[in-house]
């Protein structure tokens, strides 16, 4: 039984599946990490993901007249645009109206859940498959035995998600914008004294976060080629949790997303091969969540959250 699992081809397939699984989590969690570094918690990731997913699906479903690539680009850009709009709404709520951030996010989530379901039922109805993104094998790297199959044979959004990890690390640690993000997330008052426009920086971080959440939704659609009500099924909330898992560092977030993806894909593979079945199959479904907790206990990092997280900035306060 178990020997069926420990064959090269199965293990390679499982690892490649883990990389795919992790992608939407990673994109959404990276965005959330940027937002949280600036001091803004967004529990509405799930809602934004759904809106991005529906938009990408809906645009893709209707022919654009600009060819395959043009249609694909339009779909992804449309998802990004919707993400930015939701970012503006969230910025208005949290930066202008100083709304409680935890509850605001739940409002965004409920709205996204209901609105996409409604639009789907009314505008689409039958969940017709779309022509999503196909894997592209990267020349040379893709030819490395096994490694090529695991890492270098994915669709372009998967590559983008992983490329964003060093990019965002550099942005947060090395650019002025990144330094400002950290400054307004830790000590907004001090940053303000130094002439940093706190809310503008936070707006930028919120927009990045929402755009990436919408992109995560689009990535999900382009991988499954389908939309359905509640497509994300809780992924957005797990993405928020992975930010904490990764201690607000893009590298850590990636580790968390990959761990979650790996456990999910392993469980799936074990079930597919009939190694676990029946009641055990139900029990293994809790493995990804359980292992995430266990690993965090073991590697428990003593890194505190951004000190101004969830605290609105009011110059006159």
């Amino acid at each position: 039984m178990w020997s069926d699992f420990f064959t090269t081809s199965v293990i390679v397939a499982t690892l490649a599946s883990a990389v795919r699984f992790a992608t939407p989590f990673l994109l959404a969690a990276l965005g959330e990490a940027v937002g949280q570094r600036s001091g803004v918690l967004n529990l509405g990731v799930e809602g934004v993901m759904l809106c991005g997913a529906f938009t990408a699906y809906y645009v893709r479903l209707n022919p654009s007249g600009w060819g395959w690539a043009g249609g694909m680009a339009t779909a992804i850009l449309a998802a990004l645009a919707v993400g930015l709009c939701m970012g503006l709404l969230y910025a208005w709520m949290t930066l202008v109206m100083h709304a409680e951030q935890g509850i605001s996010g739940i409002g965004i989530f409920l709205f996204g859940l209901g609105a996409t379901d409604l639009l789907f039922q009314k505008q689409v109805g039958v969940p017709l498959p779309i022509s999503g993104l196909r894997p592209i094998r990267i020349p040379l790297l893709g030819d490395i035995p096994h490694v090529g199959d695991i890492l270098f044979n994915h669709n372009v959004l998967v590559y983008l998600a992983y490329v964003l990890v060093p990019v965002i690390t550099l942005m947060v640690n090395r650019t002025t914008f990144g330094l400002n993000i950290r400054a307004v997330g830790e000590t907004p008052e001090a940053a303000d004294t130094l002439g940093v426009n706190v809310n503008l920086i936070r707006l930028g971080a919120i927009l990045i976060g929402n755009a990436l959440a919408a992109l995560a939704g689009a990535a999900l659609v382009m991988n499954t080629n389908i939309f359905q009500q509640n497509l994300t099924a809780g992924q957005g909330f797990i993405a928020v949790a992975l930010v904490y898992f990764g201690a607000w560092r893009p590298g850590g977030v990636m580790a968390g997303a990959l761990l979650f993806g790996l456990v999910s894909s392993t469980v799936l593979q074990l079930k597919t091969l009939g190694i676990v079945s029946g009641a055990a199959s139900a029990l293994t479904a809790m493995a990804p969540a359980l292992l995430t907790i266990v690993v965090l206990v073991i590697v428990s990092r003593r890194i505190g959250q951004p000190s101004a997280l969830t605290r609105p900035f009011d110059r006159n306060a």
Binding site: S9, V10, A13, S17, R20, F21, P24, D117, Q121, G125, V126, P127, L128, P129, G132, R134, L220, N223, T224, N225, I226, Q228, Q229, N230, L231, T232, A233, Q235, S264, S265, L268, Q269, K271, T272, L273, G274, S277, G278, S281, A282, A285
Partner: protein
């Protein structure tokens, strides 16, 4: 931290009270507009009875009425019956919360609806408590086989294993790799019946065929269904099937990967016009017509109606667009006939 919560709440109460009174005084406008089903004008009074005017039907179902699966099968069926006789249809869909469904069931009954269809196995619990309060209302519950000994409850169910068996025999013949993949939700209800029937059919056709069954433990996780299908394909499966709402995730990747698909519940050809070979379609209208005839005759209740291949409630619909070997497809009729005449047993039960 300087908010006065009491003030907020008083304001909220005032706001809602104000709105309630504003709306309350605002009668007229009898608009109950058209909906999905098209002809659902709802009369405001409960004057209608089974004999006078169209039969009033209320459907309560757990997912969206156009889900191309379980909920759509009943909505389509009621609309099909409405082609033969005048019906006044109302639908409450998306009530996956059982207590909300209970409220909706009670609401339809209290509103004078003649036939309330509780379309979900999980609605039996509340139905058992509600039905005795409305002895003049007919309640239909499915998929289920229990009427709780109540005179105004009928149950309806489906031998999903029959179509599963037919699909299984076809899948085993069409597979070149000898590996079949099943994406299931949770091992319960008619999902289990269908999957067990599929496995039995495939094995009966070809004892050497491998059927990998993966219950993903969710009715809704499309992404997981999608990865499960990918895992099946990577393990050599070239013919897949699955049941419940989340299978759209599996069909989304099955076709592009070159695999064939067998559907159930509704006709799933739209999900993959070039790779869905056949679908087992539920035609609840067969049992609904029977139920309504019983209501007309005043003899409704206590019965369990079952969709089978024999009574036409189950139909295997083929899709030529998938380009499957036509001799194999032609052979399916023999299997169907065998199941109908009892020479083939599709399950232990």
């Amino acid at each position: 931290m300087k908010r006065n919560p009491i003030g907020v709440l008083l304001a909220l109460i005032a706001a809602l009270a104000l709105l309630a009174s504003a709306c309350g005084s605002d009668d007229g406008a009898d608009s109950a507009d058209e909906v999905d089903s098209g002809d659902t004008a709802e009369s405001t009074s409960a004057e209608s009875s089974a004999s006078a005017g169209p039969l009033r039907v209320g459907i309560v179902a757990p997912s969206a009425s156009n889900d191309l699966a379980f909920t759509q099968s009943i909505v389509d069926a009621v609309n099909a019956v409405a082609g033969d006789r005048e019906l006044d249809i109302a639908v409450t869909d998306g009530t996956f919360i059982v207590e909300d469904a209970a409220a909706a069931i009670r609401g339809y009954a209290a509103d004078g609806v003649d036939l309330v269809i509780a379309h979900g196995s999980q609605y039996g619990g509340p139905l058992q408590e509600i039905a005795p309060d409305f002895p003049d209302t007919a309640f239909a519950w499915g998929t289920a086989v229990d009427t709780f000994g109540l005179p105004n409850v009928a149950a309806y169910t489906v031998r999903a294993d029959q179509g599963g068996y037919v699909n299984g025999t076809l899948a085993a013949q069409l597979s070149e790799s000898g590996v079949l993949g099943v994406v299931g939700p949770i091992e319960v209800g008619d999902a289990k019946l269908y999957v067990d029937g599929f496995v039995a059919g495939a094995k009966a056709q070809d004892p050497n065929v491998t059927v990998n069954v993966n219950y993903i433990e969710s009715f809704s996780d499309v992404a997981l269904a999608s990865e499960a299908a990918t895992a099946h394909i990577q393990n050599g499966a070239d013919v897949l099937t699955g049941t419940a709402q989340m299978v759209v995730g599996a069909t989304g990747v099955a076709g592009p990967a070159g695999a064939l698909w067998f559907g159930t519940q509704s006709n799933q050809t739209p999900l993959g016009p070039d790779f869905v070979v056949a679908s087992q379609v539920y035609h609840w209208e067969v049992v609904l017509s029977e139920m309504m005839a019983e209501i007309d005759a005043g003899t409704f209740g206590g019965e369990v109606y079952t969709l089978t291949l024999e009574n036409g409630g189950l139909v295997i619909e083929f899709n030529d667009g998938a380009g499957a070997d036509s001799s194999v497809i032609d052979g399916a009729q023999a299997t169907i006939d065998g199941i109908i005449d009892g020479s083939i047993t599709t399950s232990d039960g």
